[in-house]
């Protein structure tokens, strides 16, 4: 087998050292009744060419990846990935290294993580960011658990109903073993599509542990995050934001400026391909005063014996490999290579480029809204939006099928997660879409009656 270097003379010599005659003897101490009786029932190994052919065949069947004009978003976004990003993440020096526990052998990874943490604090206007998490949904769930550690006596968790359904579901899973916690959903205003502030105010009391708000939310609407945070603060509760389209932070007021205590999000928009939904990465940023309750890895700056600047994992006494059952989380990854992709991406985009791109997304989405409106397709909500919005159609399934027949993936039907919005589609516009195609989209959707 091409990955294994053992020649027959290697085998003979190695077996001789361990005092055995054949490989099978190596496993004879495994109790006989537990030992595999038959070979693994999968096909024999293949050459590289055969593997490539077989897998390319499967990739080729996914016509949804290439043959359609796509307006799909909903938490995962089709942005251009500069070639330099992949050129770096493909480097085996990064890709095939382990978690940087041995600092002297990992200065590349640790410095890149330090830069990543800095970029996330700049984007969110928070004081400290961890080294990365699985994804946006689990980062939001970890933020709620962190809030629970900060306010152990509070029992009410408020989730904006307009927070992404996957995020709400993930938070529920992560909280399912904490008996005393009650989860309430805060309704959205059926006109604006933003969270109903009056409804939230009613539950913002001394029981409230935290509130999680999408920014923008699952309808693409830019929530009044500052007002939510202020109400949470008055109740002495923790305000958490969850941003799935993190490009938004290039343009919108950052959570830290709006009074948010823990800012979380999904980083896929920053240089990672769609990849059928993963891997991307999550981020979690907070205030320095709470750093010891932060979940996940952190890299810090220090010195080496000769006084040179160096970086290493730090504050590990929060983590599972040191603290075991008293750790702040069981997480044992920071999706490091994905965080690296984002670090390269954000460095390329830079101070002006990220804002410029976010603005261009806003411009495209608003131009699309105008074109759709001209064809009689109305926005469902009035709230301000970044690069996606909800449109009203007569029959969402029919409309999506009609568009598909014209080689367009027009959006995501919201009815499954929001029965009250069964006549709507979430449709998304990025720099990968072209304005001269918007009329075709409008035509496809307007033709359905």
């Amino acid at each position: 087998m091409r990955f294994m270097p053992h020649t027959s003379s290697d085998l003979a010599a190695m077996l001789d050292v361990v005092g055995l005659e054949n490989l099978e003897q190596l496993v004879e101490h495994v109790p006989a009744e537990l030992r595999a009786k038959a070979a693994i029932a999968i096909d024999r190994g293949r050459s590289e060419a055969e593997v490539a052919r077989e897998i390319s065949k499967l990739a080729g069947i996914n016509s949804g990846a290439s043959e359609f004009t796509s307006y799909l978003g909903g938490g995962y976004y089709n942005h251009y990935v500069p070639a330099a990003v992949r050129a770096i993440t493909a480097r085996a020096e990064f890709a095939t290294s382990y978690t940087p526990y041995q600092a002297e052998a990992s200065q590349g990874t640790t410095q890149a993580i330090f830069e990543f943490q800095t970029l996330i604090t700049q984007l969110t206007a928070m004081e400290v960011a961890n080294a990365g998490m699985y994804d946006g949904a689990s980062a939001a769930a970890e933020a709620v658990l962190m809030a629970h550690r900060l306010k152990p006596k509070r029992t009410l968790v408020a989730l904006a109903r307009a927070l992404w359904p996957d995020y709400r579901a993930t938070i529920r899973t992560y909280l399912s073993s904490i008996e005393e916690i009650e989860i309430l959903e805060v309704p959205f205003d059926s006109t604006s599509g933003a969270t109903d502030l009056a409804a939230f105010e009613k539950i913002a009391n001394e029981r409230l542990l935290c509130v999680v708000t999408g920014y923008p939310n699952a309808f693409g609407v830019i929530e009044p995050l500052g007002a939510m945070a202020a109400m949470a603060r008055r109740a002495d509760a923790i305000a958490i934001s969850a941003t799935a389209e993190s490009l938004a932070l290039g343009l919108l007021k950052p959570p830290g400026e709006l009074g948010i205590d823990i800012a979380t999000g999904e980083g896929q928009s920053f240089g990672l391909p769609l990849q059928f939904g993963g891997p991307g990465f999550g981020y979690l940023a907070a205030k320095m005063a709470q750093v010891r309750q932060l979940p996940g890895r952190l890299v810090g700056e220090t010195r080496d014996r000769d006084g040179r600047r160096a970086f290493c994992l730090t504050l590990a006494t929060r983590e599972q490999h040191i603290r075991r059952e008293r750790a702040t989380s069981n997480i044992c990854t920071n999706h490091s290579l994905c965080a690296l992709a984002a670090t390269v991406y954000l460095s390329l985009m830079g101070r002006g480029g990220l804002r410029d791109l976010a603005e261009r997304n806003v411009e495209l989405a608003h131009e699309a809204a105008t074109v759709l409106d001209g064809a009689g397709i109305r926005r469902r909500f009035t709230g301000p939006f970044l690069n996606e919005f909800v449109i009203r159609v007569d029959d969402a399934t029919k409309a999506l099928r009609a568009a598909e027949a014209r080689k367009i993936l027009a959006g995501i039907a919201l009815g499954r997660d929001y029965p009250e919005l069964s006549d709507t589609i979430l449709t998304t516009f990025t720099e990968m879409n072209r304005t001269d195609e918007f009329a075709r989209l409008a035509g496809a959707l307007a033709g359905v009656r």
Partner: protein
């Protein structure tokens, strides 16, 4: 200067006779320190004239001030910066990397190409299922492959990592007992367990009960019988355990648990020892989690992403996380309507990109190659153990599986610690093994050579450790001062924790 016709004007100073050697800058500057106002590393998207700016469309009150402190560099500057950083790393592709329980095997390069195929990389997770059948077929085959390898009945590919697989498994255990109207609060964990096991228990709302392994380094069924009760929900066992020993009484342990209504969770972190050797399902496990970044060769990425599929026996299938893959007359689709499921662990369907890589790996090896891989991994561990036995004896007399745990007397004889030995290994161009783990072995060196390393590499590793042993006795200060050849000398980790500096900030003006 030679005189020549006409006047010569020196416009630059004459070069010095021997150019001074320029010392390389200590370390690579931070990306922020390389920044210069006005540079860009990516051209802006084309914007037709006369279009209102996004910030004006939204209104300035929703928009931030500009991103102060964000880097400003050209594309080649960014590329050079990160390439230089890459050169500061040790990596499996460059060095022997025998980290115990981490399975740093070769990561086939084809697998990266496969994951990057436009049909996968460009596939949106909300694309209609009938337009994503290739991806779903790959997932279905991966589920079936992992079920066959582990001897389990159903597999979920949803967990993003091994630790998330553990959380999923424990929440399923909780749901399983709930369904039977039983409240059980405790989970038994051996003293040799990885730290994620107890941390996952806490996250899933269980109290940890520690089971002691015996003097020979394995668990006795008698100890489990002593601890099992109707308040014990399950036991988590890593097999082979973190001493690298196959748990010989695992079947009796499973029986003891099952007799009291408890379940056996098998942590598959060490699955690289068991391919075609023993199926966790046959050892009595009810749930097993796998780490695709270990046994199934997906790259570790400097700390992820990986993937942590879980396999279960039939009676636990209803509790598997969402979404579940389902075959219908119209092809494969995701089922999100399952009353007993523990729910979602994350957005969409899992770390699909890692599944592509792992599938490419199992296709390349096949059933025969996987079985060979485990045997060669076991051979490598036993070879290293045997060759080092005089200076670094094994912590156990039991036969090793895919990794061996060694110890030494240098602390006593020379005041040289395991950490110092590890740091000295860096000077030999070798990444150190896992150290001080498992916790039950003082000064442990946990070595997992993997099947993809050659005999010459193993021999050079043995030679390096033997040399360090002798150095420690002859000149302990030499070892204590290591490393000498890395880009930085010993890093002061205590200082980092005492005064945390966790981000770059612009210098005060």
């Amino acid at each position: 200067m030679m005189a020549t016709a006409g006047k010569i004007r020196h416009i630059t100073p004459a070069p010095e006779p021997t150019p001074r050697r320029i010392e390389p800058v200590a370390g690579v500057p931070l990306i922020f320190e390389l920044s210069c106002d006005g540079r860009r590393g990516a051209d802006g998207p084309p914007r037709p004239d006369g279009v209102a700016r996004g910030a004006d469309i939204l209104g300035r009150e929703l928009c931030r001030e500009d991103l102060a402190g964000f880097p400003e560099l050209s594309e080649p500057q960014v590329l050079r910066h990160f390439l230089r950083l890459s050169q500061l790393n040790f990596a499996q592709a460059l060095q022997f990397y025998p980290l115990g329980s981490c399975t740093m095997k070769y990561n086939p390069v084809l697998n990266e190409e496969m994951a990057a195929l436009p049909g996968f990389a460009g596939l949106h997770p909300a694309a209609p299922e009938h337009l994503a059948q290739g991806a779903l077929v790959l997932m279905e085959r991966m589920e079936a492959t992992l079920a066959e390898i582990t001897g389990m009945d159903a597999v979920s590919l949803a967990p993003a990592a091994g630790a998330q697989g553990e959380l999923a498994g424990l929440l399923m255990i909780r749901a399983f007992h709930r369904k039977r109207k039983e409240l059980r609060h405790k989970v038994i964990i051996p003293d040799t367990a990885h730290g994620t096991n107890p941390a996952s228990c806490t996250l899933a709302g269980f109290q940890v009960v520690v089971a002691k392994s015996n003097k020979r380094g394995f668990l006795e069924a008698a100890e489990i019988r002593r601890l099992a009760s109707n308040d014990v929900a399950a036991m988590m066992v890593t097999n082979p355990n973190t001493l690298g020993i196959f748990e010989p009484e695992i079947r009796e342990i499973a029986d003891a648990l099952h007799e009291t209504g408890a379940l056996l969770y098998l942590d598959g972190a060490n699955m690289n020892a068991l391919l075609g050797v023993a199926k966790p399902g046959a050892t009595g496990a009810d749930i097993v989690q796998l780490n695709l970044h270990k046994t199934f060769s997906t790259p570790h990425g400097g700390g992820g992403p990986g993937a942590g599929p879980i396999g279960v026996k039939r009676r636990l299938e209803p509790f598997l996380p969402m979404p579940r893959l389902m075959r219908t007359a119209d092809g494969l689709r995701f089922d999100t309507d399952r009353a007993d499921s523990i729910g979602r662990l994350r957005s969409y369907h899992g770390n699909f990109g890692m599944l592509v890589r792992a599938y490419a790996y199992v296709l390349a090896l096949g059933g025969d190659g996987l079985a060979e891989a485990s045997r060669l991994a076991i051979l490598g561990a036993n070879y290293v153990r045997k060759r080092l036995e005089e200076k670094f004896p094994s912590a156990t007399s039991e036969p090793s599986m895919h990794e061996c745990v060694l110890t030494h007397d240098l602390e006593k004889r020379a005041g040289v610690s395991t950490l110092e030995i590890a740091k000295r290994l860096l000077d030999f161009g070798i990444h150190p093994p896992t150290i001080y783990f498992p916790l039950v072995v003082a000064g442990a060196l946990m070595i997992e050579p993997t099947e993809t390393e050659s005999r010459e590499i193993l021999d050079s590793f043995v030679a390096a450790l033997e040399k360090i042993y002798d150095e420690a006795l002859d000149d302990p200060e030499l070892v204590k001062g290591a490393p000498y050849s890395t880009v930085v000398s010993r890093v002061d980790e205590a200082e980092a924790a005492r005064h945390p500096i966790l981000r770059w900030q612009p210098k005060e003006q």
